[in-house]
């Protein structure tokens, strides 16, 4: 039983990281209908900025974390202004490819820094002894990660429900023309969507970096892993991202815990999300919470 519980706990930890990573993805898709393949790279850069500020500049970790959120906020906004603003109204393939191009460029820029080829790890700032609840253990890093994730997601839900900008964003997501006609600046909303997505990506990066160490390959791989999550949750649903993130985390842990090592199976946690993705696409393409907008041919 404790084995099961432990799997549940780590599933939730991993899942909440997925949720946070997927959140940024959804924010962009929701308002501008762009799928951002460079998300993993933004996550990685958020993480690297935090590290650089903390270790090289010497700013305390929490402050460095907040600063990195702000920096990535503007960074992502700049990316949108520079590359994506021109492509509003272009076919989907152009938009997908531009984010792929962006991914490559960010890769290049990261390779210019020491993070491209070398490995680092954050200095320990939390107690290393795990918290034990019965037989189930969770580390402080993971706990703090989950708390930050919960705070951010809660904050965003509130932001969308209550603030003017949040409502403007929802209006644009709903109907761009109508939103424009009541005076909402659509490009500004797009910019803001990217900026907030950058912010959440940086947060996710900081948390993942603390858990796994700073290895570029590991960090940007998260960008691809969010695909199954967002498809499961529905591409344009924040609630969906959270629920699907946690489901996916649990599925991966259970796959690792119960499937691997039996029947000659191995690293099923790697491929299972994509199999689920295909199944979801076939039976419920808009995901658990997404808007029904798929038309059949």
């Amino acid at each position: 039983m404790s084995y099961f519980l432990q799997l549940v706990v780590s599933g939730i930890v991993v899942g909440s990281i997925y949720a946070l990573s997927a959140l940024g993805f959804v924010l962009i898709y929701k308002s501008s209908r762009v799928i951002n393949l460079a998300h993993g790279q933004i996550i990685a850069s958020g993480c690297f900025i935090t590290y650089a500020l903390n270790v090289w500049v010497g700013i305390p970790i929490y402050l460095a974390f907040v600063l990195s959120l702000i920096i990535t906020f503007f960074l992502a906004m700049g990316v949108e202004r520079l590359f994506l603003r021109r492509l509003i109204g272009e076919p989907i393939i152009s938009v997908i490819m531009v984010t792929i191009g962006l991914m490559s460029i960010l890769d290049g820029i990261i390779y210019l820094t020491p993070f491209g080829a070398e490995n680092f790890s954050f200095p320990e700032f939390l107690p290393t002894t795990p918290i034990m609840m019965g037989d189930v253990s969770i580390s402080w890093t993971q706990l703090v990660g989950v708390i930050i994730t919960a705070l951010l997601i809660g904050g965003f839900s509130w932001f969308f429900k209550k603030t003017t900008i949040g409502i403007a964003k929802r209006a644009v997501a709903d109907d761009q023309l109508a939103a424009m006609s009541i005076g909402v600046s659509v490009p500004k909303v797009f910019g803001l969507a990217w900026a907030t997505a950058g912010l959440t990506a940086a947060a996710a990066g900081g948390i993942i970096g603390n858990i796994t160490g700073l290895n570029f390959d590991t960090l940007h791989a998260v960008g691809i892993t969010v695909f199954p999550v967002v498809i499961l949750g529905g591409l344009d649903s924040i609630l969906g991202a959270v629920v699907a993130g946690i489901i996916m985390g649990l599925i991966q842990q259970f796959a690792g815990g119960y499937l691997d090592g039996n029947w000659g199976l191995n690293s099923t946690a790697e491929v299972l999300p994509y199999i689920i993705l295909l199944i979801i696409l076939l039976i419920k393409p808009h995901g658990l919470f997404g808007t029904h907008e798929i038309e059949r041919v």
């Binding site: 799928i35 590359f83 021109r86 492509l87 272009e90 989907i92 393939i93 152009s94 997908i96 490819m97 531009v98 792929i100 191009g101 962006l102 991914m103 490559s104 460029i105 960010l106 890769d107 290049g108 820029i109 390779y111 210019l112 820094t113 020491p114 491209g116 080829a117 691809i224 695909f227 199954p228 498809i231 591409l235 191995n266 690293s267 790697e270 491929v271 994509y274 199999i275 993705l277 295909l278 696409l281 076939l282 393409p285 798929i294 038309e295 059949r296 041919v297």
Partner: protein, 364 residues
């Protein structure tokens, strides 16, 4: 029809048949065949190092794959982020034969044209299978479905012992009328083979686009409801577009396997899928000649960047990260700049040059 069949100063089409000719004038045809002759003759005149012959073969194989991707993404409008997996299906078809009957079996070494076509057919079957979700999905969702096919393909190859878990499965040297093709002639031999395959593929594709089956692809891309109303079956058309794309990819895969004399998963990863897409876009989506420009441009760029990176590595030898960064930076910039400033790709430049020479020396 213009009286002069050699030169045309404008459009004088009087029937659809005229308009659909592959060569508008005799001059065009002459140039085309002269160019083909050059392609066949030049390796006999110049001594090319093995390295460059390998590079050229590689470009040609990519062209075969891109013709398929262009039919799929350019003409039928279905985005595939899993094209390398289709190429991989072709290569692994050959590899499976090599595993079962041995890599020096007569089927592989002597009946290689059959094997290449067989690989293409298997690619088509897989293409159609992966295209099935197209019956329900559109645009982005379809793109993500192909992405997941790519991931599942990689996992399957990596975890099955039959496929040597992604390690290289070797493929024997082939025989020609003159006997076994040995190392010295290997790359030149495959140059001729791939060139022939490309010419066949090109004629197949351009003839296809003149028939209703080709036009239905474009109709479905432009507006699938209108296509439906005109009596085409959009769903089936999409599945068939995937099969077509898969066929060309499969052929390319088998050629790749023969050229490298081995199949390993490394050549068919997500990264390659992305780079195929980039080739199609840089070449020009929805144009056949774009399929030639794209691979040429991207592979040449790769090579030049490698050279540059190497020079940079020598100059700033203390700091190699610059050299590392050049490759993705150049690749990314090319994609982004093309999308922003020339979304119609190099094919558009070709069109401009062509229309210029058509009128030259006059302005109008």
């Amino acid at each position: 029809m213009a009286v002069n069949r050699w030169l045309a100063t404008g459009n004088y089409f009087t029937s659809y048949r005229d308009e659909q000719r592959i060569f508008a004038t005799h001059l065009n045809r002459l140039f085309f065949f002269a160019f083909l002759c050059c392609l066949f003759v030049w390796p006999l005149l110049f001594e090319v190092s093995n390295k460059y012959m390998l590079v050229i073969d590689n470009i040609l194989i990519a062209i075969v794959a891109i013709i398929g991707l262009n039919l799929l993404t350019g003409f039928a409008g279905l985005i595939s982020i899993g094209h390398a997996a289709f190429v991989g299906v072709g290569a692994y078809c050959l590899a499976s034969f090599a595993r079962v009957i041995g890599d020096e079996h007569i089927l592989i070494t002597h009946a290689w044209p059959v094997m290449i076509i067989l690989s293409g057919l298997l690619g088509a079957v897989f293409g159609a299978f992966v295209g099935l979700p197209a019956l329900r999905l559109k645009h982005l969702y379809l793109a993500i479905a192909t992405l997941s096919f790519q991931m599942i393909f990689e996992w399957t190859i990596n975890s099955m012992t039959f496929f040597n878990q992604g390690q290289t499965i070797s493929v024997g040297r082939v025989f020609w009328f003159t006997g076994q093709v040995m190392r010295a002639d290997h790359y030149v031999f495959w140059y001729y083979v791939v060139l022939t395959v490309i010419i066949i593929c090109w004629f197949m594709a351009s003839n296809l686009l003149r028939t209703r089956y080709g036009r239905s692809l474009i109709a479905v891309r432009d507006n699938d409801r209108a296509a439906d109303a005109m009596g085409m079956h959009p769903g089936l058309t999409k599945v068939y577009a995937f099969a077509l794309g898969g066929f060309f990819a499969g052929v390319a895969g088998a050629l790749h396997a023969y050229l490298y004399r081995g199949v390993g998963i490394e050549s068919f990863t997500l990264h390659h899928s992305i780079s195929y897409l980039a080739m199609a876009i840089v070449g020009g989506l929805g144009t056949l000649n774009g399929s030639f420009w794209g691979p040429l441009a991207i592979r040449t760029l790769d090579l030049q960047v490698d050279n540059l990176a190497e020079k940079a590595g020598h100059i700033f030898s203390a700091n190699l990260s610059l050299a590392t960064a050049l490759r993705p930076l150049a690749f990314g910039l090319v994609i982004v700049l093309f999308l922003m400033f020339e979304p119609r790709g190099i094919a558009n430049w070709w069109r401009i040059v062509k229309s210029y020479t058509k009128l030259w020396p006059f302005k109008y």
